[in-house]
């Protein structure tokens, strides 16, 4: 343990450096533990609330009521103690009789005794009113506001008018669905037939809810899966389901809560990467501080070597220091992160889908500490490898500082690979994690490359503009290139943080602008589902009458992908996002359509567009769908269309611009293939240029009770709120990254303290004042902050242009005011940090310093 003992002894008297190193690691770990614990608390809450969220232990759902055989199976398999309930869910239009306003709503048609689990809290009337003689419904307050209605008003669902008996305040699953298509409505299942929506007017989802003993649950679920040939992995993410041949899906409460948690998990995955970036910048801080320390400790290293310590031993001595620092930083960061997480949970209760409990998440803390130690050791090793090139002869003469040579490159490559690996693991995607981290690393590299020449510019400019006078300014700018001063790491770290902040600001501004402008006018104003074939002409006429525009109508047939070239699509294993998506794409119910020519949002990327007539059925697949299901040009797909098998040859692959939200499909078939199949139509209605359309939804709800219409602007508003919340969380973590960068800046300020004190003493002797020194340090650190901010923000905006402009084809909007505010913030924080780091310059007496020199 000599190495450890030496590590401890050599750390004495280095408190400022040690605390800075600890802070570098603690900051990143704090961010990671905060995100991890927060996600964990939410996950635990969702598991705890799983039964109330689903309202059952087990749910069997299908698009048709269960058949007599399936009912018999259930009776046979369920234990006698099991309780069951039936529920029908669907989305439809609610039309207020008095105001004439209409709105999309999510309806739950329930039986007496609802719910099996959890609670329903309604105001005004009792829930029992649903099952009385009068046709009543309970609605969310949001719907009353939107329909300009009140309790007692009459609202029409389909063909039936219902009196609003009260307001729903709490209901199983109500708060967990942030992407609900409309407010919730509760009605009696017995009155469903009165609405006429059960005859194909709406896409109904029939659910059989089961409450049973916990020890019987798994056995029942397994028996049912086996009996009905259901896949084990029922929840696929993206809100999708995998169903059996009869369209039956089964999920337990735990699976349902997992599905509800998925969106939060995705956001959590993303935030973990940002927290990782904070830790990465902390690691750069460690490398910078250790490099500076090593340079200052050249004599110590040489003495140790003279006294018999091998280069490996010296390397290990300093590496142990880094590990201990990482451990201390990790523990402090974990404690701080856990505290911060609890504070956020306490403050943000109203934003959570379920109430999460305060507490300590030990696994998240342990992982944070492990990451902290790894970052500290990894980045320190990168700097410390130079020990191998340090010669003891340095004791006899000045030698240039060692750089690390080939070992440095090896460690740099290993570090890069480790960062990508951890990013992939944290994001649960080998694509998404690295895709977020690589641009930030690239930005850091670009900043590093342009930093050195740029650092010389301010000095030259100052000399040109102020050939005489302004000594403080010239001295400060001259300091940027002083020998032994290593501002590169600080500039790079701050620039990387600025890049994250700049990119996020640009993403948010661009998304918000796109939502507000409706996709540069390309996006439709409304989207309608469930138009029957015999309603198409009348539907188009009403739209023309109300809005003066032509609706974009597409037929749709539901089908199931049975096989590709005669073989079932391969099963996908694994828990990455990509695996989840592939499973979902392969197992979902497919929506088929056809069109005579390519739509405005489509481009053929492989193959050729299908002819309008012919004998062979051809298929055109969307690019990502084709990749997910593993289909290529020339493959033969077998599709099951309501019991009829159809074969289609893939003749083209399309790229689709989904963001325009016009009717587009993963699978398009030859126009002649499905002409006679039972079909419904979906319609996109362009936003009228003259602002017409205010009465469209009400007119459609009145004329076509079976049609469900969505206001795209309203959905965009919901999306905007989500974007805003995610952006807030990212910005919150972005400032952690900036904090790590600023610590590096403080580190180089402290590292050059002795030299600065000498300069200051000399300046004082030569007649300089305190003001001169303040001007010098301010000029120096303001310039470093400005260079970092400019490089970082430029890289951030460039990153947004590449991501949005190149990959998503979205118009990029630069939020100049916000970018300017970030830049100014960085400069101000940089100057304050610099002044704080160099405060000894102001407190030391010149004579004492000169004597020391």
């Amino acid at each position: 343990m000599l190495t450890l003992r030496l590590a401890w002894r050599l750390a004495r008297g280095q408190s400022a450096r040690i605390w800075l190193l600890i802070a570098c690691i603690a900051l990143g770990v704090c961010a990671r533990v905060c995100v991890g614990s927060f996600s964990g608390a939410l996950e635990r809450a969702l598991v705890r609330e799983a039964r109330p969220l689903l309202g059952a232990d087990l749910e069997i759902a299908s698009n048709q009521p269960l058949s007599a055989e399936q009912d018999a199976d259930l009776r046979e398999i369920l234990p006698a103690t099991a309780r069951t309930a039936q529920q029908v869910r669907f989305t439809t239009m609610a039309l207020a009789q008095d105001s004439g306003r209409a709105r999309t709503v999510e309806v739950r048609a329930v039986d007496p005794g609802h719910p099996l689990y959890g609670s329903v809290r309604v105001t005004v009337a009792s829930l029992d009113a649903l099952f009385g003689a009068e046709a009543v419904i309970f609605v969310q307050q949001e719907l009353l506001d939107q329909l300009d209605a009140e309790v007692g008003s009459t609202v029409r669902l389909g063909a039936e008018g219902f009196r609003i008996a009260g307001v729903i305040e709490e209901e199983p699953g109500l708060s967990a669905n942030m992407f609900a298509l409309g407010p919730r409505v509760l009605m009696a299942r017995a009155r469903l037939s009165d609405t006429g929506l059960d005859g194909g007017g709406a896409r109904l989802r029939h659910a059989r809810l089961v409450a049973l003993d916990a020890d019987a649950l798994d056995g029942v679920a397994q028996t049912l899966r086996k009996r009905w040939s259901l896949s084990e992995r029922m929840n696929t993410g993206f809100g999708g389901r995998v169903e059996n041949e009869q369209g039956v899906a089964l999920r337990t409460a735990a699976q349902a809560s997992g599905s509800a948690a998925r969106i939060y998990e995705r956001v959590g995955d993303f935030l973990r990467i940002i927290a990782l970036a904070a830790l990465l910048l902390g690691g750069i801080g460690v490398a910078s501080l250790m490099r500076g320390f090593l340079s200052e400790s050249r004599d110590t290293v040489a003495v140790l070597q003279v006294l018999g310590a091998t280069p490996g031993r010296v390397f290990r001595v300093f590496l142990w220091q880094s590990a201990l620092v990482g451990l201390a930083g990790g523990v402090l960061g974990a404690l701080a992160g856990s505290g911060l997480q609890n504070l956020l949970l306490a403050l943000g209760r109203s934003y959570l889908p379920v109430p999460a409990e305060l507490g300590i998440d030990l696994p998240a803390m342990a992982w944070g500490v492990a990451l902290g130690v790894a970052a500290s050791v990894g980045f320190a090793a990168w700097a410390l490898v130079a020990v191998h090139d340090m010669r003891p002869a340095a004791l006899l003469r000045d030698e240039s500082s060692a750089a690390g040579g080939w070992r440095g490159w090896v460690i740099a490559v290993l570090l890069f690979a480790a960062v990508l690996l951890v990013a992939g693991y944290e994001a649960r995607s080998w694509r998404i994690g690295p895709a977020i981290v690589i641009p930030v690393l690239f930005g850091g590299l670009v900043t590093a490359l342009i930093c050195w020449p740029v650092l010389y510019l301010p000095r030259l400019l100052a000399r040109m503009v102020f050939p005489q006078g302004a000594f403080g300014l010239r001295h400060g700018l001259g300091n940027l290139t002083r020998p032994g001063f290593r501002p590169l790491a600080a500039v790079v770290a701050i620039a990387m943080a600025a890049q994250l902040l700049g990119a996020m600001a640009t993403y948010r501004a661009s998304l918000t602008a796109d939502i507000e402008q409706g996709g540069a006018g390309q996006r439709p104003g409304w989207f309608c589902l469930g138009v029957e074939s015999d309603q198409v002409d009348e539907f188009a006429r009403v739209v023309r009458q109300q809005c003066g525009v032509e609706p974009l109508l597409s037929p749709m047939v539901m089908a199931r992908l049975k096989s590709i070239n005669g073989s079932e699509p391969q099963k996908v294993e694994g828990g990455t996002h990509e695996a989840q998506r592939d499973r979902f794409m392969r197992g979902r119910e497919q929506r088929l359509s056809w069109r005579a020519e390519l739509g405005p949002d489509e481009t053929i990327v492989a193959g050729r567009w299908m002819p309008a007539t012919g004998e062979q059925v051809e298929a055109s697949l969307e690019k990502r769908f084709a990749s997910s299901v593993g289909a290529r040009l020339g493959d033969v797909l077998t599709l099951d269309i309501q019991g009829v098998q159809l074969q289609a040859t893939v003749t083209s692959i399309r790229a689709v611009r989904w963001l325009n939200l016009r009717p587009n499909f993963f699978i398009l078939l030859s126009p002649y293939a499905l002409a006679d199949a039972p079909q419904t139509w979906i319609a996109a209605i362009p936003l009228p240029a003259d602002g017409r359309g205010a009465g469209l939804i009400a007119a459609l709800a009145t004329r076509f009770p079976n049609v469900t219409a969505f206001d795209i602007g309203e959905l965009g508003g919901k999306l905007g709120v989500v974007v805003e919340r995610i952006s807030l969380a990212v910005r919150f973590l972005g400032w952690f990254c900036l904090g790590a960068g600023i610590l590096v800046l403080i580190g180089i300020g402290i590292g050059t303290g002795r030299q600065r004190r000498g300069d200051a003493a000399l300046v004082a002797v030569l007649g300089g004042t305190r003001r001169t020194l303040v001007a010098s340090i301010t000029a120096e650190f303001a310039t470093l902050g400005a260079i970092s901010a400019l490089c970082g923000l430029a890289c951030g905006v460039l990153q947004a242009h590449v991501a949005f402009g190149f990959f998503l084809d979205l118009e990029v909007v630069e939020p100049w005011n916000e970018l300017l505010a970030i830049a100014l913030g960085i400069v101000v924080i940089g100057v304050l940090s610099g002044l704080a780091a160099c405060r000894s310059v102001f407190t030391q007496h010149p004579l004492a310093v000169l004597r020391e020199e």
Binding site: G13, T300, G308, P311, H388, L396
Partner: protein
Amino acid sequence: MNTPVLLLDGVARHYRTGSGQLTVLDGISFSVAAGERLAVVGPSGSGKSTLLGLMAGLDAPDAGRVVVEGRDLAGLSPSALARLRGERMGFVFQSYRLLPTLTALENIAVPLDLAGRRDAHATAQAWLERVGLGARADHLPAKLSGGEQQRVALARALAPGPALVFADEPTGNLDSRTGAAMTDLLFGLVAESAATLVLVTHDLALAARAGRRIELSDGRIVADTIVADHIVADHIAAADPTAC
């Protein structure tokens, strides 16, 4: 004479400078017998310190070879060289070179610890007593005077029982009185330890205490003088070490 403890054969060292190659040492050959005390003298820039670095394996020659106790240093890895230094060599520098964050006792114990000696602290404490600083064991170098720091450095050099002790201007940073006392202590303790002393200095009075003197000028040996034909039994060991 027995097998030399140190042998230099045609050693040369050059440095690259902005204006070309600078030859610091050229064609240096000599040997040092066990127990001998050698003073390398010469004016500033004559190559004394460079020669010391090469003899101690702190640096590698561009030509020639350096052999310590029969081992050619060129054939040793950096780790093997470090171990050789730790176990067979001791060093005293002009500016003491104590590790600033270690106490006097810990500084002396470092080479013993590195050599894996279980009695490191006891031996270090004994040596601290021998140089008259037993009561200053827990003091950091910054709390010691120059003379005291150099005594700690001397104890550190001798504690592992080296065969060779290299001293680079050991009195260069001390006043004349303290320097003289330090010289007495150095020669006395080296004699007690039966070690070989190689001293680099431009102080002719200090050099006169050695039995042999090599003079360097412009990187070449210009004189190699035996001051005494036998190794003088050094009676100065009895001198009061606290006088430094």
